[in-house]
Every structure is written in C-alpha cells, then in structure tokens.
Symmetry: C2
C-alpha cells in the first residue's frame, strides 16, 4: 500500500527503530541527575547532540532538542524577537512559510510587533532581491524556509542569508522539509528541523542558535536544554532522531537522484493523463521527492478519498480538506488553482512500479470525482489541450447542453438553474452547498453582455464547475459575474480564467467578474 505523504511524516527509518529500542533501557533516567542512570542518560543525550550537530553542520552547544519542529520554530522566533527588541520589532517572513511560522508572526503582531510578508512568484519561490529590500532598520528577525512543504520549491537561502548578514539581521531557516536531504549551507543564524520528516520518531524537533546570535529563552525559564526547551527530554526519541538523521544523510544523494526521476515522471505525465490539471511549484529548484498538482472541477477531499480507496495516501492543500475552509495559504500566495489539489511526496524506498501504478489509477480517480460533482463533460475538459476556437465551440455546446437541461441558457432573459451540489457522500465538507443551486442569469436586456452565475452558498469546486458549465452559452466578449462566498473562489476563479484563457476582471466582495474569450 504505497504511502505518498512523506512531507507530512515518514515511517520510522530502520536505524531510528534500532536506536530507539537500544536506548529504551539506558535513556529513561533524568540526565540532570548525578547517579549512574542519570549519567548514562546524559551520555546518550550528549552523543545524540553531537551526532545531530555534525549532520546539521553546527556546534553541539548550538543545538537544542525540542518536542517538535513547531515548538522549535515558536521558541526560535520568540527568543530572537525578544533578545533583539531594542533593535526593533519587525519580523520578516515569506508568504509561504509553514503555518507554525505564520502563527508565530500573528502572535507577534498581536503583541504590537510588525510583520513584513515577502511575496513569492507563481512557482512559490522568494526573490532574494525583494527579500533583501524587505529588511529594514527595525528588523529583529527574518525567517525563510529552505524548501516549501506544499509545493517543494527550494528557496534562495544562501543569497537571502547573505543579504541578512549584510543587514545585521539573523536569519532563521525552517529546514523541516530539506533537512532529510542534507545540511543547509549559508550564513544563517538559526535553524529548525523535525525528526519525523526524516524517518526519526515524532516528538523530536531541533533548534540551532548559532553563537553570536542574541537569544533570550522565552519564559517560564527552565534549566534543561540550555534554557531553550523546558521539560524532561525524551532521550530514546532524541537518540533515534540523531541516528536516523545521519543515516538519512548517508543515503540522501542516491535516493534523491532516484526519487527525482520518479517525480519527473509524475510532473511530465500528469498533465497528459488528467485533463485540466496543473502541476505547480518550481520545476527545477525543488525537493527531490515532492510534486503537487491541482485538478479543475474536482475537490481535494474526494480526490484524497478516491486515491485512498485504490491504495494511495496523498495529501492536499485544497480548502475542503481542512477545518478552516480556506485553501492553503501557499497556493494562495502563489496565485495558483487550489481546487482538486494533490501533493505527492515519496518516502525513501518508493519504487518505480508504485509510481507507475499511481499514474495508472489517477485519471480514473479524478474522472470519478468530477462525475460525482456534475463537472463539465469530457469534451469541455479536452479544451485545455486544444484551445482553437472551433474545438472550443464544439465542446462548449456539450457543456451548455448539460447546463441547459432545465431551461434555455441561450435565452438571456430567462433564469437558468443548474444543479449546485450533486456530489454523493459529500458529508460535512460542503455543508453550505447542500440546498443551494447556481444560476446564470442576465440582469436585463439593457446590459446585454453581462451574465451572472449565482454560486452563493456553494463550496469549492462548485462555483468553478457552475461557471464552466455555462461559459459556452455566454457570447464571446460578454462579461460574466460569478457570485461566490466560498474563500477558495478568490483563488480558483482567477486561476480558472488563466487556465482556460478568459479575462479575469477582478472581484468586488463576493462578485467576481470575467470576460469570455
């Protein structure tokens, strides 16, 4: 049963398991105690720290074990902001950082601090010159991930670290996603990682604070881990984490090359196999094992479940898979489609055969979800590969024909209703959509060329599906207004326009305007 969600967590590396079992008998005591058991625990902890420090490329006394990567980030950010508060209270982050960083930024803002978010390109990459410009006199700390957790894009850490060094600002690198593949080079000041991303156990993160970086451990104070991580450490976990980091690095080069080739295959073949799919993220400067794509007219949760049923575990940045009902902030910051989003992240050891099988089942899984949602027929989907107007019109007739079941979509004065939410078993993911229906209507004969699709109360991907169903019944050049109050529409309607070649004109509240091409 292939597990393709390594970016969330990887199964225990055999070395981690071995180290964990080996240290259960020796590593349970308090390393701060002077007795035999305490000294043994201390020795294990010290050895683990040395191993981890060597793998990360720092001094052992610069490295603190924390209970998670999230806690490492929270502590690293709070401790540096506090120590440097006389310099200023500005925190600079990229707009695609992990939520742990952005939530720490929210907390800083709530406490009266300032936050600058540096934008990214459509591939999710920070521009290092833009980042350098964001460093102001009052900047206490800058944060940049080494690689993005959702789309795999590597960030220009070395260049940004150099700009930070020049500006006298410490750079904190969230290395959670790249650390399994090797150390992070460059003049960074702080670095964080998370063991369960590299095959270590959960419950172990690491925080590196390089000598010379001013740092004030957040209160309440505690004597453990140089005051930087309160509470009794899980030493068997820490030992397993350190051992598996070393093991992962030893295997990284060969495994990265192998997985990179598999990911290349997915990147190339998904757009050919799945109509209206878009691969997102930087095609070259990226993690070796991770690829993300989005599928028009599909919802992430149904896709996840569909792939799960045929044996593949993936994740998704679509809004419909999270409790917040907002699509991934990463996809939003990149300005790319969020609907039908699938992240594939291959754990070490993934075989070519597993990837082949994934590519075999994927098209059917997407098709099935689209059918359940009443998405445009295959003809409409084909247009992404053949955008000449003739083909488009033919396909459009099919779509219009479906949308016009209940009325005449080409009679603009009439109200045309289309099914709003027809997906079976949608459950609580789209609660607002259940009793709603989208509509396309023309406001009045005087505003000939202005059409409205009412998708209020429906959730991703329904607004875009409704729009796609009726677009071909709208005259070329006419303006369509889509009424949609789902957060994802803000991302998906412009992305749809861009993918399908229509002109996106902008939004006013819940009203999105576009011109048919």
């Amino acid at each position: 049963m292939p597990y393709f969600d390594a970016a969330s967590a990887t199964p225990l590396h055999p070395v981690a398991r071995e180290a964990l079992l080996a240290s259960l008998d020796e590593g349970w005591a308090d390393p701060a105690r002077l007795h035999r058991e305490g000294r043994r625990a201390r020795m294990l902890l010290d050895a683990a720290r040395e191993t981890a420090a060597e793998a990360v490329g720092c001094r052992p006394d610069e490295l603190t074990f924390t209970p998670s990567g999230t806690r490492a980030l929270h502590t690293g950010i709070a401790g540096t902001l506090d120590a440097r508060r006389r310099t200023g209270r500005r925190l600079v982050v990229s707009s695609v950082e992990h939520s742990a960083v952005l939530h720490a930024a929210d907390a800083h803002r709530a406490a009266g601090g300032q936050v600058t978010e540096v934008a990214v390109t459509r591939t999710g990459r920070v521009n290092d010159t833009a980042y350098a410009r964001a460093l102001a006199d009052d900047t206490a700390l800058a944060c940049l991930q080494s690689a993005n957790h959702e789309v795999g894009t590597r960030q220009p850490v070395t260049a940004v670290a150099e700009a930070c060094r020049a500006a006298g600002v410490p750079l904190l690198v969230d290395a959670a996603q790249s650390l399994p593949w090797g150390p992070v080079s460059g003049a960074w000041g702080l670095l964080t990682g998370s063991a369960h991303k590299w095959g270590g156990p959960a419950g172990v993160g690491l925080l590196v604070v390089r000598k010379g970086v001013r740092f004030a451990p957040p209160a309440p104070r505690d004597e453990r881990e140089a005051g930087r991580s309160p509470g009794f450490a899980d030493i068997p976990g820490v030992v397993a984490a350190a051992a598996s980091l070393r093991a992962a690095h030893a295997e990284a080069e060969a495994e990265a090359a192998r997985l990179r080739a598999l990911v290349d295959t997915i990147r190339e073949r998904v757009p050919a196999l799945v109509p209206d799919a878009e691969v997102v993220g930087d095609p070259e400067r990226r993690l070796p094992h991770l690829v993300t794509f989005s599928c028009l007219y599909a919802d992430g949760e149904s896709l996840l479940h569909g792939l799960d049923r045929v044996g593949f575990s993936v994740s998704s940045g679509s809004s419909c898979t999270s409790s917040s009902l907002t699509p991934s902030h990463v996809l939003r910051a990149m300005g790319v489609l969020s609907e039908g989003n699938v992240r594939v992240s291959l754990p070490p050891g993934t075989s070519a055969a597993e990837v082949e099988r994934f590519l075999t089942v994927l098209p059917g899984a997407v098709r099935s979800v689209r059918e359940q949602l009443g998405a445009p027929a295959d003809g409409a989907s084909d247009r992404v590969h053949d955008r000449d107007p003739g083909a488009s019109e033919t396909a459009g007739a099919g779509a219009a024909g479906r949308a016009g079941v209940d009325g005449a979509v080409d009679a603009p004065a009439e109200r045309v209703e289309t099914p709003g939410e027809t997906r079976e078993g949608s459950g609580p993911a789209h609660p607002r959509g259940t009793d709603e229906a989208s509509q396309v209507s023309q406001a009045s004969p005087a505003t000939q060329g202005t059409y409205t699709v009412d998708a209020l109360g429906t959730l991703c991907p329904v607004p875009v599906i409704e729009l796609a169903k009726v677009i071909d019944s709208v005259p070329v050049g006419a303006v369509v207004t889509v009424l949609a109050d789902d957060e994802a529409a803000r991302l998906d309607i412009p992305a749809w326009c861009s993918m399908r070649g229509h002109d996106y004109l902008g939004a006013d509240g819940s009203a999105y305007r576009l011109r048919r091409r």
Copy 2:
C-alpha cells in the same frame, strides 16, 4: 543495582514498552490527515486519550497530551491566567510547588501579575484554611500539588479545591507525583501529570482542563490537541503512556502498601543508624514510596556519589548538587536542614532486601563523607542522642582539641584557624572553599562572650562544620557570629541550632548570630 530515584523518573513499565513497540508501525503518521495511515494514527490517539481520561477521571475531550509535565503546567497556568485576566491577575501557589510552577509564577510576576505564596508547615504541608484565606477577589488561578516531589507530603487537595470552588477560583493540581498511585479526587479545575513518573516514556505529559473552566490557549495558535499543545504528537509515546497509567493504577494498591512498609522501615531506622540525621516530611500523609532525610556535616553531592559507588541511586535537594548553588526551595520553605540531603524514592518492584542493604551501607557512606570534610568526630555526633551538658562538654573538648591544633581556642584574643575545605575530590562543587579557612576569633576583651566563625567563601556544609568544631570551646551563654556567604547557610545554621539545642538569634546579611547553650 537498586535505583531509588523513582520520583525523578521510573524505568519503562513492561506495559509501556509493549504498547510503544506495538504502535511504532501504526502510530507514526499525522493523525490530522485523511488517508489510511492518518486514520490509524488518529484511532490510536483517540483510544489513548480515552484510556488516560478514564484513569485520571475526566472526559476525553478535557484531556490534552503535552510534551512533558512541565509544558502541561506552563500551558495550564498561562491559559487560565489569560482567560481570567478580567477577574484579576493574582496567582496563588504553595511555596513548595515544583519549580515549573514557580517559574511560571515568576513569568507572571514579570508580566505585571501578582503572586501569593502560601507557606507550609515544617512537614511541608499546606494548611487548607491558610490557603483559603489567600484566595482574594482578584485571584485568577490557584495551584496546589497533590503531593510534594521532594519530601512526599500529600497536600489537602480536596479541602483546598472546595475552598477554591466556593471562591469561584479554578484550582490547578500538579499531580505529577501522585498520579502513578491513583486519580486525584476533589473539585479541581485543571490537572497535570507526567508519564515518566508512572513508568510511561519521557516526552508525554497531560493537561486536563475541566469543562466550564475558562481557558485561552497560549499563542502562537496551533490546531493540534484542541489548540492546547502545538506540534506533532508522539503517538507511540502517548499510547505507551496511557497504557502504562492504566497498568500502574491496577497495581497501585498492593504496591503502595508494600512500599509504604519499606519506607516506614527507612523512616524509623535512619535516625538510629546515622547520627545527626533528620527525616523530613509528613510521617503519615505522604506518598507511599518516598522518604527524605538530611545529615548534618555532610554534603549532598558527596553522599550521592558515595551511595552511587556502593550501588544505590538516590537524589538530593542539597545546594551542592545543583547548578544554582541554592538549596532546594522546598526544604527552605519547610525551614529544615538542607545539608547532606538524601531523597529515596522506591520504584515499583523494590525488594525488602534492597532496602535492607541500603540501610546497611548508608551509615558508612555518611561517615566517610563526614570524615573527608573534617566534620566533628564521632563523639560530637553522638551528642544528638545524649544532650546532657556533661556529655556535651566532653565531646566539646574533643572538637575544640581538633579545632585548636593551630592555636588556643580558649584564648579569645588569638585568632584560631581551622581547616576550611579538606574534602578530597570535591571538584567544582565547592570552588570557593578551596583556599579558604574558617576562623573563630574573639573581637576584643571588651566584648567578652562574642565569638566569630569566619566561613566566608566556603560552601555547604563547611560553615556548619566549622561552627560545630568550635562551639564547645565557646562558653555557655556566649554569642557566636558565623560569617558565611553561602546561600545554604541561611537554612542550615538555624536548622543546626534547632537540632543541637542552641539559640538562633538571627542574621544580618552574611552574619548569623546564635547563643551557645
């Protein structure tokens, strides 16, 4: 090799080990994910939460797993103080709480809050009426441990919880030490625990917030564990923790009775076996497995090492075993002797033979440390059992003889030097004592009856040793001033006076005054 430091950490319970191993393969994935592996992890997490909640006596949705008991305390305290800040900013704690509570109180004070510390008796027990009086209109939160971690005294939680309920103040119970023995009854509002105290793995704490208690999870926010514990949970650890808590409770009654009898043996026999030793803590209302005693003229670190060499692992609240150079705040709050402090806490399964062997080797270990420190001869030590003045004078002559080697201690105008720090292998524990020497001198003939022992620059237990060496050369009724700048002197000199029957007159900075009896 008997390990008698269960109050610090216990070895893994067999059930914990089994549960840990069984869940390594199923519990590594992200429980927030929708795929197969995520659902399995979620099921394990939910089942562990139900098991732990049943053992604690709460609803599963009231229980949060945290990375440690310390973090549970920090979060529980900060979250309640914040949510109830409109009521007031007063935190009430006992003076013998765990340092994690007192450090949280420090942080609260630093942030502008008020803290009331409720004193304890000489047995380390809070008076519930006194605690109730400390609850004011502006009290946001009250904290009380269920039992003390250093001396084992159980606190009147039920009565204090009732007083808190009447005052409308939530009570947070730090149950770290008692939870291995059963749930905590009473109308508490919050409760914390730590798995490695009951045979679970390190890295797992728990925080219970009962329904109806206002609670605001501290920033930065995070979606895991109801927002109360950021970061990816160690599910195998959590599963092992829950399973072993249930197992510990199943065995608690029988094991508590057995260990209580062994502790009774230690409590009875130590004062008879070791001269000048004092057992501290409540003799009845106490944890079943824990006993603490202090030995005059000995230092905790040397005692620890001495016991360690003969195979026993214990801990100590003496200042010389910690980096802070101050004695345990618990012993300080109780007003009892801190020097030569030994805490014995028996893990489940400790045999009567092990305890017998401990009692056999203890007297020699203490004697050896005292000899290394140049403590008063055996005769002096005997006085604790025979305090009639005649015996005292005899013994005193011996002590004075030793102290008077370099001069005439009975010639008050002369300066008498005694060896300050003669202990071998003292290492860095007593750095200031190395080149120093204590002195007893009489200021001038005009102030006949006033003697000075200069122990400045020496560390615990040297000031008391120097005092004991010369006390018999001082006329009965005369006032002795001890100059000592070690923190522990503040506790040990009054305690010594009380143990030896002299009148402690008070301190002025580093000058302690007492009258010989």
